[in-house]
């Protein structure tokens, strides 16, 4: 637990000078990022589609010794860390910040790997609010139609989006059924690192379909 608390404190102190920029959606992404980065193999790719959780990602890089204190606290400063992740940062293959595009990009990478006969999984982290974007469902259809089973999506199911609760703004439930109807294998877990890691292991063993892990916050 202290392992989880420490990054959270870090996150809070780094975001205090910037009006708590996406603090909550970064907090709910910490354990997901931690699990994905620990599971990530050499040939795997990570896409942070919910790019506004960049602060959580930077805290992870800091934990891994890839960012200094000074760099971490340069968040959103003019020559400092960008407020949304951009290509060129460690592990970041594509710039995000605009919602709904990450899953399509993940499919493209998975398709290229298939054409080249290469291994490796493509992990893509989505926000639950992000699922309002129609493109996510276009990509969901593309992935299942082409049986892109190297695509593993993780939804940060924290039940809130920018201006309110997800079920008030635009209801997502029954979320698991929606993904199943689109031809995906669905795994539902509490948003905790060890359980997420187990879910990622399970996901990798399921073949023939793309997989989605719904990481539920507060359960």
């Amino acid at each position: 637990m202290s392992e989880a608390l420490d990054p959270r404190t870090k996150l809070q102190s780094m975001l205090q000078p910037v009006n708590n920029f996406h603090l909550e959606s970064s907090e709910t992404c910490l354990e997901i990022l931690s699990a994905v980065l620990e599971e990530k193999g050499e040939k795997d790719v990570v896409i942070l589609s919910k790019g506004h959780s960049a602060p959580a990602f930077y805290v992870m890089l800091h934990e891994m010794g890839l960012l200094s204190d000074e760099e971490l606290y340069s968040f959103a400063d003019i020559d400092g860390l960008p407020s949304h992740v951009i290509r060129g940062l460690p592990f970041i293959e594509v710039s995000s910040g605009s919602l709904g595009q990450g899953l399509s990009v993940a499919n493209g990478i998975a398709m290229a790997k298939r054409i080249d006969g290469e291994d490796g999984y493509v992990y893509v982290i989505l926000g639950d609010g992000e699922l309002d974007e129609g493109q996510v469902w276009e990509a969901a259809m593309t992935a299942s139609h082409h049986r892109l089973d190297r695509v593993v999506a993780i939804v940060d199911r924290n039940y809130f989006q920018l201006t309110g609760g997800t079920e008030e703004i635009l209801s997502k439930e029954p979320l698991a059924d929606k993904w199943r109807a689109f031809g995906w294998e669905v795994i539902e877990v509490p948003n905790r690192k060890e359980e997420l890691k187990k879910a990622l292991e399970t996901a990798k063993k399921l073949v023939g379909r793309p997989k989605i892990i719904i990481a539920r916050w507060g359960v």
């Binding site: 499919n107 990478i109 990509a139």
Partner: protein, 306 residues
Amino acid sequence: MIESFREAFGRALVELGRENPNLVVLDADVKSSTKTAYFERAFPERFIQVGISEQDMVSMAGGLAIAGKIPVVSAFAAFLMRAWEQIRNTIARDNLNVKLIPTHSGFSDHMDGSSHQCLEDIALMRVLPNMTVVVPADAQSVPVLLRQAVELDGPVYMRLGRDHAPRVYDSPKLELGKASVLRKGNDVLLVAAGVMVSVALETARKLEERGISAGVVDMHTIKPLDEETLLNLASKVELVVTLEEHSIHGGLGGAVAEVLSEKMPKRLIRIGTTEFGRSSRDYFALLERYGLTAESVVRKVEVVLT
């Protein structure tokens, strides 16, 4: 001789696919209209169907480029524009090696009317950092410029019409980024792109009959614009005219106006559109309605020069 832009595109794509195993083609259920179906037949394993979802197609192409492929995305120009934000935020921002090659631009999809005719795409693409914008004049230019677009490392938007491509070149030696000077003139310089290059040549012949000497430039690369050739030729004439099957705002006319007004103020007439199109059984009836014929251009030039 009238040839077809899309036929030339479809055939050239197969040729390039044979030479370059990294070339992949994406389609949003218009392969028979864009002629990427030829590529599918030749290389089914490198042809990716996404269904009617242009936004997904563009972002997926981004992923393919990240993984080292050279994705070619084709669609009707008007509907590729619904993915403008994906083109901006994923492709252009990361300078990804994606080739966006729409067909049916300008008025060329004459029957389908204003929803399908695309008169804004050059402006939308030209404004994006990292994006190269190319408009081939005829079917002969398509394979030459397509090859260079594929060889260039970075995003390219290459705008094609549907079928009406009056032949301008026999075996063109074109260079991306370098304007092609087709005719020299002392009174007026006609700067054109796409189908309007053939109209510019016809205009120059008609002006000659009236004692007006007109030069013609095929400005096939609109971004980066060949400013050197433009300024060099413009310095010798009284009037510059731009001709394009596109809005006069932000397209070729806009690009030329920007350069001239900053570097060599010069009287300029922009020939193009300012409204949405309409349905027509006949493509030429549309060109005539919107003032995109040689006769119409001649009249406008005469008003200024005589």
